[in-house]
Amino acid sequence: MVILNSPISKKDVVKLKAGDTVHLNGIIVTARDVAHKYLIEKRPEKYKKLLKNGVLYHCGPVVDRVGKKWIIAAAGPTTSMRQEPYTAEVIKEYGVSGIIGKGGMGDRTLKAFKKHKAVYFHAIGGLAQVLAECVVDVKDVFMLKEFGSPEAMWVLDVKDFPVTITMDSHGNSLHKTMYEKTEKVLNRLTLKGGGL
């Protein structure tokens, strides 16, 4: 198992390989559908420092407010594929080193991972309680009023956040290989005329 601290330097990114299991520590920033559109269409300068070598988390958490403090009550990953139209550009523009999500991403993103040195961390879908327990602190939140709580950009400090690298900066994607492998079995199962 690899222990990684975010932000992650590009030098460390290239050492990571698809199949590695990782415990992630440090700062991650939630961003999902509305945030991605915003980052690309408006290109706000203010996030460049925060996201440089940073990690984006495809997540819309359930959040509680206790006094002046924010508490993350549930925080599993959402489907990453919806961010496919934006992610290559987000990585290039903001210098992001990692994306946490579920289900993997497509060829455009995989190419961007290779070109700009970034990786995909796969978190288990629906693991909202286990992952919420890894959040040590909510450091900040952006666009809360504009986007609403699930779509806002939450800046989280995490400890031992369990993920698996499924796409690396060398052009490997376990999602792609799994899709092709299972497609062969599917073709076999449907060609033989059925098990009925």
Partner: protein, 293 residues
């Protein structure tokens, strides 16, 4: 119907559904764990999922942050007002958002604005049906967006999957749907399928199939056989939990059929993720008489 007890029952229903997975689902996940090799990624993933299920129950918090679309199925005796029940449900949703059982999950599609603890057309979904029994039965399903997005519908014949208008064609469509869903739908999943109907009724019935317990056997032997065949073949695909590879791709398959008209032959697939949140209660004489599942 102006009693507080029914409102309390709805709030408790939402709490249970969001935080406490029914026993048939947990059992199926545990059975899946037994089929996976120790220390494999599939085994570790299922262990983590079981840990998450336990934590959510202990804390009474959502097991998945996407608390989904609340889909209610309400059966009621003659004389009960749908308007009253709707009011109670909307009030229960509002309170459940503040109690953190539900994420503020409603978005105005045109403005993109999150409407917080409100309800509106399309959220929640309520299916009402009068019946001859003298009590109210409510079943709630919290249907997550990730798995809802991988649901699909085929109009047979479909040359893309080489499916004709027979059960073999139906089988090819369903296996194609399982393959396309891969890790995006949060496997191990459960399929609700409907053969026949029109586009809308077919989808609706496919979702309704998910109200059946996982151990429920199909009353129709032809469909029962098809369910078993799909289950076996899907797990042969090797997609496994979250698409990491493994034996446990599906936890269950439930298939129903509706009549159709000669021009149409629909196969509709509703995919449910492992966080198969469905609960229910029966309500009579001002109190909850039984919890379901």
């Amino acid at each position: 119907m102006d009693n507080e007890k029914l409102l309390d029952a709805f709030i408790e229903l939402i709490r249970r559904t969001s935080s406490d997975l029914p026993v048939d689902v947990v059992t199926a996940i545990k059975e899946g764990l037994l089929t996976e090799k120790r220390d494999s990624i599939a085994h570790k993933t299922l262990q983590m999922i079981l840990k998450n299920i336990k934590l959510a129950k202990e804390k009474s918090l959502p097991m998945c942050q996407d608390t989904g679309t609340p889909v209610f199925y309400v059966n009621y005796p003659h004389g009960v007002s749908q308007i009253d029940i709707k009011k109670k449900i909307n009030q229960a949703i509002k309170e459940s958002v503040h109690k953190l059982y539900l994420r503020p999950n409603i978005v105005d599609t045109l403005t993109g604005k999150n409407l917080g603890d409100k309800t509106g057309p399309g959220y929640p979904v309520i299916n009402f049906e009068e019946w001859k029994k003298d009590y109210i039965r409510v079943i709630l399903m919290l249907k997550g967006g990730g798995c809802e997005n991988v649901g699909t519908q085929y109009a047979l014949p479909d040359s893309r999957v080489n499916a004709g208008r027979d059960l073999e064609g139906v089988r090819r469509c369903i296996l194609d749907a399982v393959h396309k869903a891969q890790g995006r739908g949060c496997s191990p999943g459960i399929l609700g399928v409907c053969i026949g109907g029109d586009r809308v009724s077919s989808y609706e019935e496919s979702k309704r199939q998910l109200l059946r317990s996982l151990d429920d056997r199909n009353k129709n032997p032809v469909l029962g056989k098809l369910e078993q065949s799909i289950m076996k073949d899907s797990n042969r695909l090797g997609i496994g939990p979250m698409g990491f590879g493994g034996m446990t791709t599906l936890l269950g398959v439930k298939i129903g059929s509706l009549c159709r008209i000669p021009p149409s032959y629909f196969v509709s697939v509703t995919y449910m993720c492992w966080a198969y949140r469905r609960r229910g209660f029966e309500y009579e004489n001002g109190k909850t008489k039984k919890w379901l599942y």
